[in-house]
Amino acid sequence: MIRLALRGLRARRLRSLLTALAVLLGVAMISGTFVLTDTIKAAFDDLFVAQNRGADAVVTGRLAVDSDFTTPPSLDAAVLERVARLPEVARAAGQLNDRAAVVGSDGEVVQTGGAPTVAATYMPPPFTAIEIKTGRPPANDGEVALDADTAQEEGFEVGDRVRVAADGPVREFTLVGLATFGTQSSLGGATVVVFDLASAQRIFDKPNQVDFAFVAAREGVTDLDLKRAIQGVLPADAQVRTSAEQAEALSDDIGEALGFLTTGLLAFGFIAVLVGAFLIFNTFSITIAQRTRELALLRMLGASRRQVLTSVLAEALVLGMLGAVAGLVAGFGIARAIDALFGVIGLDLPSTDAVVATRTVVVCLVTGIVVTIAGALGPALRATRVTPIEALREGMAPPRGTFGRRAAPVLAAIAILAGVAMTAFGLLSDGGGETAKLITAAGGAVVLVLGIALLSPALVRPAARVLGAPLVRVTALVGRLARENATRNPGRTAVTSAAMMIGLAVVLFVTVFANGLRERAERILEQTFAGDLAVLHEDGFSTIPAAVAGAVGRVPGVAAVTGIRAAEAEVAGASGDTFGNGVDFATLPAVYRFDWVDGEDALLGRLGPRDVLMEEGTAESARLAVGDAARIAGVREGRFTVRGIYRDDGILTGFTLPVAAFDELFDEKRIVSALVDLEPGADAGRAAAAVEAALEPFPEARARNQAGLEEETGAQITQILGLFYALLAMSVLISAVGIVNTLSLSVHERTRELGLLRAIGMTRRDVRRLIRYESVITAAFGAVLGLVLGLFFAWVVTRALAGEGIVFAVPAAQVAVLLVLALLVGVAAAVLPARKASRLDVLEAVAHE
């Protein structure tokens, strides 16, 4: 029986390949995800280890909050000296870190996607954090070195003059060296400007300070001993780690971020796999139906039910393994593709040789096998129910449903109700664990999809009548035949279109959701931004020097400027990290309108240094009301009284403190934006030009008006949407393969019938049209169901997030385009099968068994 299975696979080569292809694509997504994230993690790990290799211990400022975005306090040089004098210490060197901006060869500031531009200082060997590969390290405050990647991209060479903005107006420096970091020629894609320590201390106004102290131990001193010794001489706001601990801490941070990325990408992989399962179910169903006589013959000759089941499952197993192995290999290509995709949106992640963990191999093989067996199980069980007497019957018996006619709609109804309930519960209920609710919602989504899939055969007839109507109008006979054929086997049409349904549902969901996000962002800006211009970093979220506010304030026509500082903090009781803001409440009202939940504008004049205003989301999360005490931890901790609650998820997110209070918690001197109010009656155009001129020394800053801001937010969301589309392309591809598969099988099945049509005079063109129309009807059916599902999911999720102000806004134009694309997929899928159908030799076809 195994031999029979293998022979069967070989004989039906094309079908087998298409089925294996479905498995391949789904598994490739999963393999690619793991390979990519494992490789990135390995690259970062290599980087951290290499960087810390020269040192045995690292001293940094201590933060009250565990965050990547908050600058730790600097260390006094005196601390460094104390450490250097310890008997266990061979050498100690300090390093300064800060923000900077580099002007590229095109005159624009160099953008690095998610990573900021970092200023660092050089430390001589044995410390290896920064190594100069070409040229030499900077020696005075007229010289800098640049990371090798950025230099190469911008075409800078040693000896060139480069313009760098470092906590103030831009200046010119001489490029004297190119830097590398461990094994990489860039630090995770970020741009790094290297100064010498003394110069940096002057430029960044940190006299006698360092941010890191790297320490090398004397011969024979263990890392732990060193750490203990250093601990003894440190003040309370400093901490020491062995370099191994430091590398591990950094690695853990990256691991967490990558964890989110992995989960996200795996979600797309899962969708692709689910779609693949439908395809396998469909292919096997059709194949089993076609092999009814052969199976009946085997039963007649004495094959037991179990032997038949084994044979079919063996086929499935072989295909699953082939697809899984091929998918595993294809994953390398996918990993590269996703990496490139991220590069397009500006996220240049480091890489080394691809890492293939054992876990990846196991997951891929298991997924491939499980998916194939799961898809083939139903048809395999159906195969065992073939009775020997069917070997004697002429023609093909129409396949019955696995559960029989009556059970399916009931089961479908149950599944749909359960799915809706689970999804709604998971997303809309309060309380309960976040993870548990998310899993319930996701599970509910899958159950709902299965329910609709089960119900869809019943919908095929009425739907086909409607969907086929325009086709019948165009070509009466062919249109009618196409419509009849689609309804001939509603089960098969439904399952084929299921793949399209899932693909479109997800695409639609992200589209509508993204649109909701965009509308929300626009609305928030409209409500809160009362100023005329906003000065922000080019990339929209990095910080700019505080001097920008002063420079803009001096421009004629500007009535008021408020700088907003921001840093990441922890609010006791609130989940996750929160961004907090520091503002000057005297000048703020001119440029910002508070959307009060509990409070009033008159409050602003009465706020003292121990008062805080909370954003609605934060207040809810921490269960704080006006009058409560809030404990906030930044670099340092402090207690404040909540005086008002407002709604804003755009400009002043998290919470807002008066500047004096902000400075108590944080050391952040740079601002995240400067909001500008022009004099009433000022010429907007001229004032804007004047502001731009004032910003010349600050190349990383740009002024935008409200429309510009909205446009930019919209553009960012669109970019991410594009990324999602690219990731969903895999699922759409599988569903297209599914339609092609079904169509070819269907053509083969109807060879005699098609031959008959040709024999009595149907042209080749009409035969092609027939197949094409059938494909379009199937695609349209799936698209309509997908539309309903997608809109439902979008609605439920936006309702769940209604508290954050996301609305359910359907972008009609985009939805229409997507539907048309779905139909085009149907047309494209029909090309090959239609050609095959039209090329049938009439005589052969009519005599076909």
């Binding site: 007649m300 000759l301 094959a303 037991s304 039910r305 032997q307 007497i389 070997a391 004697l392």
Partner: protein, 231 residues
């Protein structure tokens, strides 16, 4: 192998009704029949006479509305699916009008199929070779059905039907798709199996020339036996 003259298949009061009440069709109305070892029985009749139905019932492929069937002494209606499967493997052989062979297996493998399914490897190879030789297809044993003519396919089918030394072989219009030369070959093979091996064969046919090869002709009309002729 049961001795000559012993009854290998017997049916008593066989009735088969399709559908209910007034719309029902009585394909068979109470047929008694005995098949003895070493005999060649032809069942003839016009279309709708119930001859195929009778054969399906005797072969255990269908259950009668009323009446009993015994194959090799075993009452078929007492068997469950597993039992029926075993019966088909060991005691019964089949040859149809068309589509007898599994397309992806060679002639050799097709002949061996009942033994492969039963899992009896012992002596299988020799038996298969002997039968291929008997049907004169040794030189074609590695060919697939698509590479064989209609007549050759039927010969392979006969070899397969005989491979397990069944108590009885049922043949449903075995010469229906063949030209006269191939038909004669097939009938001669079947006759030889009866004469030389003592095989019992039940053949349903509407071709009088084919029936002429048989020892006994049972004629059916309207679901009843109307005549019995002995050659």
């Amino acid at each position: 192998m049961p001795g000559p003259e012993s009854i290998v298949v017997s049916g008593r009061g066989l009735t088969r009704r399709y559908g209910q009440g007034a719309a029902g069709v009585d394909a068979l109305r109470g047929v008694d029949i005995d098949i003895r070892a070493g005999t060649f029985t032809a069942i003839m009749g016009p279309s709708g006479s119930g001859k195929s139905t009778l054969m399906h019932l005797l072969a255990g492929l269908d259950r009668p509305t009323a009446g009993t069937v015994e194959i090799g002494g075993v009452a078929v209606h007492t068997l469950n699916d597993a039992g029926l499967t075993k019966l088909r493997r060991e005691r019964v052989g089949f040859v149809f009008q068309a589509f007898n062979l599994v397309p992806v297996l060679t002639a050799e493998e097709n002949v061996a199929l009942p033994l492969t399914l039963a899992g009896t490897a012992a002596g299988a190879k020799e038996r298969v070779e002997a039968l291929l030789d008997a049907v004169a297809l040794t030189d074609r044993r590695t060919h697939r059905p698509s590479e064989l003519s209609g007549g050759q396919q039927q010969r392979v089918a006969i070899a397969r039907a005989l491979v397990g030394r069944p108590a009885v072989v049922f043949a449903d219009e075995p010469t229906g798709n063949l030209d006269s030369e191939a038909s004669q070959e097939v009938l001669a093979l079947l006759r030889r199996a009866v004469d030389e091996q003592g095989q019992a064969i039940v053949m349903v046919t509407h071709d009088s020339a084919a029936a002429a090869v048989a020892d006994r002709i049972v004629r059916l009309e309207d679901g009843r036996v109307v005549a019995e002729e002995t050659a």
